[in-house]
């Protein structure tokens, strides 16, 4: 006879911390795996998988707007996800001022809506859960607010697909350049409009502060006295100063996007949204960055690439990334013994095409990882996906659900600053965030937003739970979710759901039964992992 999951096993911990919990149909094979075996399978994730592809193909998201006289007609349809595999130029066309194509704002933000829908589907259905968790990490690390303007919404499918997902287990230096050249980052941190003469510093500053060295290695009290930075005179400065930012901004001038702009009186860029390099916008004079001299007039893009080389190989980047990844995977204040090993490996593997996978292996298979149980609050996306995966709900994403995640503190692809969503338990525990994470579970259980009806009795059976009475079923819901409970919660949950504790399982009241499962999922134990 099937037994309820054993939450004390390492693999159950791993699938909750490194994924969004198990699904009933995968559980038996999951628990037969060692953590190392499971991890290898996860790191070898294929680009696409059948169930996810099937669901992405079948997914439709409503688009509805009124007609505008002489511009567009009214639309109200369930539309499939059409932008996920498109190249940028196919999506970018609508912005071309030479070929005005008036469309409703919802058409412009549609690519973002589709990436959001796909993200939710993958979170719930992908077998390769680690990839989903790590892609969220990178989206926060290399954050672009796709809600800030329509062009950023339009660029999101390519950013998610060809930058974040493509490089999520790969090499950091390669990822840095993919990010630097992406339409998303070029627009978000204003590098596309940067020009020789008075370069725009937005990208340069966040490249150091957020993407690599981290603020702990910003030695701003030294400002422009680069020789005073410890190690600078032997070409190994320990940190960066404002002068490095100013010079780096110069190094990235000319890195831009084909947006139809004129280069001179005779030439203009095509209108594709693709990355390009414009020599005449580049500041080619000599530079000094991180105590390293840059020759004047180097080859196309060589200045920027040299900066990325210096940054990617720098010990400060290794330290910062080690700490940040360990914080995401283990919780706040990760053990220094581990972050030191990870930083060391980060540097020694810096040339490896699978550098990031090797780092993840080191962290996840460390003894420290298993000791970090219960230290992370589930982010709202994790809470949502975990509940739906346990329930086996036939899930449909929509914008209302996305807004619920936002209310609970996780505005996917839309944090207000380039810092991304904080990786801090406290951020998700404010009054508003707590209320809305409870509401998230309640709404999913009751199908308030049309995300799919659950069959709680069937789900409980699939997990090996007892379904002979409301009381037995309710207790098994708490057990299934890994919640240690006070016995009096059981009858209280049943009564709160409008059912009778002593009655046989109320199969005629699926909503009530779903409510019982939701109440179990509201408990503190289910909020953590």
């Amino acid at each position: 006879m099937k037994k309820l999951p054993d939450h004390s096993s390492d693999i159950m911990f791993a699938i909750h911390r490194l994924g969004y919990g198990p699904r009933a149909e995968e559980y038996d094979s999951l628990v037969k795996q060692s953590l190392a075996g499971w991890l290898e399978e996860q790191l070898a994730a294929p680009e696409s998988e059948q169930e996810v592809s099937k669901r992405l193909d079948a997914c439709t998201i409503r688009i509805k707007y009124e007609a505008a006289e002489g511009k567009w007609s009214a639309v109200d349809e369930m539309r499939p996800l059409t932008s996920l595999s498109k190249p940028i130029e196919d999506i970018w066309r609508v912005f071309d001022p030479q070929k005005p194509m008036p469309v409703h704002g919802y058409e412009l933000s549609r690519p973002r809506v589709e990436v959001l829908a796909a993200t939710l589907i993958r979170s719930v259905y992908s077998h390769y859960q680690l990839r989903e968790v790590i892609c969220q990490f990178w989206h926060d690390h290399f954050h672009v607010n796709a809600f800030a303007e329509d062009r950023l919404a339009a660029a999101l499918p390519v950013y998610d697909r060809d930058v974040i997902r493509k490089h999520c287990f790969g090499n950091f230096r390669a990822m840095l350049e993919a990010v630097a050249c992406s339409t998303s980052m070029q627009y978000y941190l204003s590098n596309q409009s940067s020009r020789a003469g008075a370069a725009n510093e937005n990208y340069a500053r966040e490249l150091f502060e957020l993407h690599s060295f981290g603020r702990e290695n910003y030695l701003n009290d030294i400002y422009n006295r680069w020789r005073d930075v410890p190690g600078a005179l032997v070409g190994k400065p320990v940190g960066y100063i404002d002068q490095d930012i100013y010079e780096t901004a110069r190094a990235f001038t000319g890195w831009t996007i084909e947006d139809g702009r004129g280069i001179d009186n005779y030439r203009k860029l095509p209108f594709t949204g693709r990355f390009t390099y414009v020599e005449s916008w580049h500041d080619g004079n000599q530079k000094r960055i991180l105590a390293t001299e840059f020759d004047p007039y180097m080859d196309a893009m060589a200045d920027g690439r040299k900066v990325l080389d210096l940054i990617a190989a720098h010990p400060a980047t290794a330290q910062h990334m080690a700490h940040k990844l360990c914080t995401r995977l283990l919780g706040a204040n990760p053990p220094a013994s581990l972050t030191a090993r990870v930083a060391e490996a980060w540097r020694s593997k810096s040339e490896a095409p699978d550098q990031i996978a090797q780092i993840l292996r080191l962290i996840i298979l460390s003894p420290e990882f298993l000791q970090s149980r219960g230290r992370k609050i589930k982010r709202p996306l994790a809470l949502m996906a975990n509940y739906l995966r346990v329930m086996g709900t036939n899930f449909t994403p929509n914008e209302t659900l996305v807004n619920q995640l936002t209310a609970a503190g996780q505005r996917l692809f839309g944090a207000p600053t380039p810092e991304g969503i904080p990786d801090d338990n406290n951020y998700f525990m404010g009054t508003n965030a707590m209320r809305n994470r409870w509401n998230l579970i309640l709404g999913l259980a009751q199908n308030t937003w049309g995300n799919g009806i659950s069959d709680p009795a069937a789900a409980l059976t699939a997990w090996g739970g007892k379904t002979s009475s409301n009381r037995e079923a309710a207790a098994d819901w708490f057990r299934l979710l890994g919640v240690s409970f006070d016995p009096k919660w059981i009858d209280m949950a049943i009564t709160t759901a409008g059912l009778m504790p002593s009655a046989p399982l109320s199969l005629d009241n699926q909503k009530g039964l779903a409510m019982v499962s939701a109440l179990a999922a509201l408990s503190p134990d289910f909020q953590n992992c």
Binding site: S193, A196, N200, R215, Y218, G409, T417, M434, M492, P524
Partner: protein, 425 residues
Amino acid sequence: MINVNRREVLKALAALGVSSCLPSAFGLRNLAFAADDKQPILVVMHIRGGWDGLNLISPANDLDFIAARQTELRVLTEGKDAGYPLANAMTDTIDFRLHNAAGGWAELYNNNNLAFIHACGLADGTRSHFVATDMIETGVGTQVDLMRQTNGWITRSIKAQGRSVSALDAVALSNGFAGDLRGLHNALATLDVNNGLPPMGGASVSSMLWQMYENRNDELGEAGRLAIQLPMNIDQRILRDEHNRVLPYVPENGANYDKAGSSAIPFKSIARLIKMDLGLQAITMDYGMWDTHDNQPGRFRTLLEPLSNGMAAFWNDINAYHDKVVVVLLSEFGRRLRNNKSNGTDHGRGGVMAVLGGQVKGGKIYGNWPGLGFAQLDEGVDLAVTTDYRQVLAETLEHIGGRKAADIFPSFKIGNRLGLFDESA
């Protein structure tokens, strides 16, 4: 931990479930301590992203300024982009002009309720948003002190009062807490109070939640308990009709939020919170996206207009509370004197703060104008900081609560008084 016991919460929840819908019948009185209606309220507006003080209040006829900046990023003295002249500026020789999208502020300034402080900011030379924001919200002046202080400056100022006057000391109109409220437990974060804050899932679900979080001795347990208790303080004071529907808010004194745009919801929420007489000591609000590295002229106007209009409507709305409320606006830094080629400005140093209040000696720009000549600039590139931001906060706290600056900002030596407040009242 807040002194609210289990029986009171359960009683309150039960009352919610069965009572008629009039607030007076909610039976929640025991939750809040008797609110002291003389309690002054500090409203702190975080201007996120580092706003360009030089584009907000320009030294419009300063030749160094004109030479360094393109016209679109300066307030002008004539033409359609002419700004509001500001009397009582720091020097007689410079024509300081307020951006013409800030009509609401010009009015408050001319009524002597609003004061600006120019060339003000952090003593530390950071040009990082995140470091600067952390230092300001923690209330320190160096990165070393940032490591030493764990809680926010508003938190310290509330704790320095030595008494919690209500079950709810502060509200942040944002999804989470900014650093200035770090370490304050009886504070609530919400984006909007206009629709009430009823118990999630209704009274019976909230009772179940209370059961599950009641005895949990960790941060999550406390977060859960607070998320059940704190909203009741506000929700019971939201007026509802006989069908338990929230009644629309009616501003007072003819205040009109129509031109407040995106700032209407937070400003109305602040006005309502003040009028609830909850015994609140502080309210914070975030107003972001000032990081204008490109296309600054349009973006600056789009941000400034609703903020200025919203604040003017809000001030009108809370007419009866002018002697109790002080509003402080602050941003993490100012921006570079020279613009970049993206029609924007990069991170700089000295910026502008503003203080609004019934006892503020307004209609004046405070501070020492350092000038914009090469030798006067910070590192040759930025408006220098001549007034530490804590000078403004210290005078504000001393005014509203008689709190000694030294208790709140331990490593800060209070400088020459700006004299922002009329202490004779």
